[in-house]
Symmetry: C2
Subunit: 394 residues, 2 copies
């Protein structure tokens, strides 16, 4: 079995586990840094190793357009191409097709759209997306799904969810065909004849908008199709209220098997991680830490600050005095502000490095709190400090 | 004595030495990466340490404008601000005032100009520049000089050179006053009462354009003024012919004492380093490796290549198969090309890292060749391969 999930501790719905993949284990809860174009923006793989990242993301839509999944395959797959020998998960591009690309036409067969880069016409079907994700060769690959706005009505949510489930069946069939016909790696001496690295775990995505009944129904139907290695929870953090998101996570937590990892897609911010871990989520990803870093925004235990502000001009303190990342252990706010204001690349790198490390640390600390049996008090204290402090008062 | 220069081997005019500074030794010949705004563009100080950089540059003009030399002083000086505990040299900003700033008025007193950033009016005199360089606190500080275009006539060259020498005297007097009144670091237990880190070495700059007699005259007059720790050679690589530059270096080599380090400012490219080392130069700086990196240009032992070219799309080789930098040891041309074409920051960092490492390595290899006594054959072979190979044929 290439993929296993072992739960080592539980507190209510929150769990600490180990998700094993062909490229090694992922200790959960885990935050997965996003490497859309085969690089976590502004960071070096070595930075990620030093911060203790395990699984990272790539994106099928973006890598199909640049450099081309055929190029990645020719270069030995995404792990080899970007020199990341730990687990990788690729998103299918469903989200990008429905948010970034232009002039979409959705049919039962798939989605025709225009590339956001050059306007070229493209056609994604469940089968084509599986071929792309096979070429990329990540450990975990997400199904191609129909993504809708966060506040869509129930009929729209039902329609998209049902289409996503039909597409899931096609994804599974195509992946099974590809595993037979297109080995991921040439057989190597260190691997047994049935190379476990040939297997990719297809994760289904539970859709259903903010409609509990649709979510329950999707979770049920998906489970009946196959013995999945884990489940994605999609279509959240896309414009709906936070309370609605937390409620949907709770509903899905009850509807999915507790024996398998759950990946809440595109979430999140520090408070979202903590609330969702309490509701049984194991895996997270979000572009916020790198995107925010590029805007000068910094996570700290006392809330967010923006390094551009004049008050940091001669501030000798680190970004977050309670952080042990490679930026905080070395540089002052004054220096990082100077770099950022002067548009120096090192400034972007240090802010991204800090923010990604911050989210990795939250997941790690949450895991330890679950193991210690005090997740409730840890998360209450953490959120209370984060929500009420002013970074000026640090 | 805070600054010493020990020559460990010689071949003709070429020498291998050790230039000792309050922040440690510089093995010469040495290439000094340029950290204009208190950061070597796109690199982390840790990258530079790993590549074996010893002395790096800062720039008085740029740091005066951003973040302000007063800010740097308040943050403990440039070493502390940018966390570089090895030697630093600051350029005076003479070159920037005469090349980057607008609407200059030059008088005997100094230069009035407009900031290239916001057009604000500024006034630099030798005294003000020394105050700026004192606030920055580098080990070696360059005099404020009058820089002229590379092909200026002899009268212009003479006028600028003589003014530069008068300004040098004022720089020296002001630095001596500042060393008495403005200690660089608070006394620490680990330093003796007369903290050697309080001393800065003022380097004069030999000017004179492409006119041998003016160069000889300047070298003579400067030596008569003070027991300098080393000498700058300025006003080269600013538009004149390469042969004229090499000839001026030869003239200055003969006119300056062979006991002291010579720093050829703003040079160079690989071939310039090798030609100038042969003519007795010890120290170099140039923005080319980082600037070229930002344009996709790559130094290799077989000449330059541009990573943007389509032919590298699936090229599995490193940038330079004979390079052991952190980019070449890990990544393919195909990956770095993808990063560069996709405008990913990691691409810029890897190209800069490689190019800076390449120049550091040339200086290091040249030093070893001098010590081995075979500089002539080493440099001939090196240049022959660099100038005749095509990177396509690697």
């Amino acid at each position: 079995m290439s993929f296993t999930f072992d739960i080592v501790a539980k507190t209510g719905s929150a769990r600490a586990g180990v998700f094993s993949t062909p490229h090694g284990p992922v200790e959960t809860p885990a935050f997965m840094p996003v490497g859309t174009l085969a690089t976590v923006k502004s960071l070096d793989p070595d930075d990620l190793v030093r911060m203790g990242a395990s699984m990272i993301l790539g994106n099928a839509y973006h890598l199909h357009l640049r450099p081309g999944d055929d190029v990645v395959r020719e270069m030995g797959g995404l792990h080899e191409f970007m020199r990341w020998d730990r687990p990788i998960l690729t998103d299918s591009g469903g989200f990008q097709v429905f948010s970034l690309a232009q002039l979409r036409t959705v049919t039962e067969e798939g989605v025709e759209f225009q590339s956001h880069l050059d306007g070229s016409r493209r056609f994604f079907t469940p089968e084509i997306v599986m071929q792309i994700e096979r070429n990329l060769g990540a450990d975990v690959i997400m199904q191609f799904d129909h993504v809708i706005p966060g506040q869509s009505d129930e009929a729209t949510a039902r329609d998209a969810s049902e289409r996503s489930i039909r597409w899931l069946e096609r994804c599974l069939k195509e992946l099974q065909r590809l595993e037979e016909t297109q080995p991921l790696e040439p057989p190597r001496e260190e691997f047994p004849p049935d190379n476990p690295r040939n297997h990719q775990a297809l994760f289904p995505i539970v859709q259903g908008g903010i409609h509990s009944q649709r979510r329950r129904e999707a979770a049920e139907r998906i489970q009946g199709l196959y013995d999945w290695a884990g489940f994605g929870i999609g279509g959240l953090s896309v414009g709906e209220e936070k309370d609605a998101m937390y409620e949907m996570i709770r509903v899905v937590d009850e509807a999915l098997p507790r024996t398998h990892p759950r990946y809440l897609m595109g979430v999140g911010f520090p408070e979202d991680l903590i609330e969702a871990i309490e509701r049984g989520v194991d895996l997270f990803d979000c572009v916020a830490p790198t995107r925010m870093g590029r805007n000068g925004a910094v996570f700290t235990h006392d809330g967010r600050l923006n390094i551009k502000r004049t008050e940091y001009r001669t501030d000798p303190r680190p970004l977050d005095p309670d952080c042990d990342c490679a930026a905080c252990m070395r540089f002052s706010r004054a220096y990082i502000r100077h770099l950022f204001v002067s548009e120096e690349i090192l400034g972007l790198r240090l802010l991204s490095l800090h923010n990604v490390h911050f989210l990795l640390s939250i997941a790690r600390d949450a895991r330890q709190a679950i193991i210690n049996g005090d997740y409730e008090s840890w998360s209450r204290d953490w959120l209370s400090r984060y929500r009420t402090s002013s970074p000026l008062a640090v």
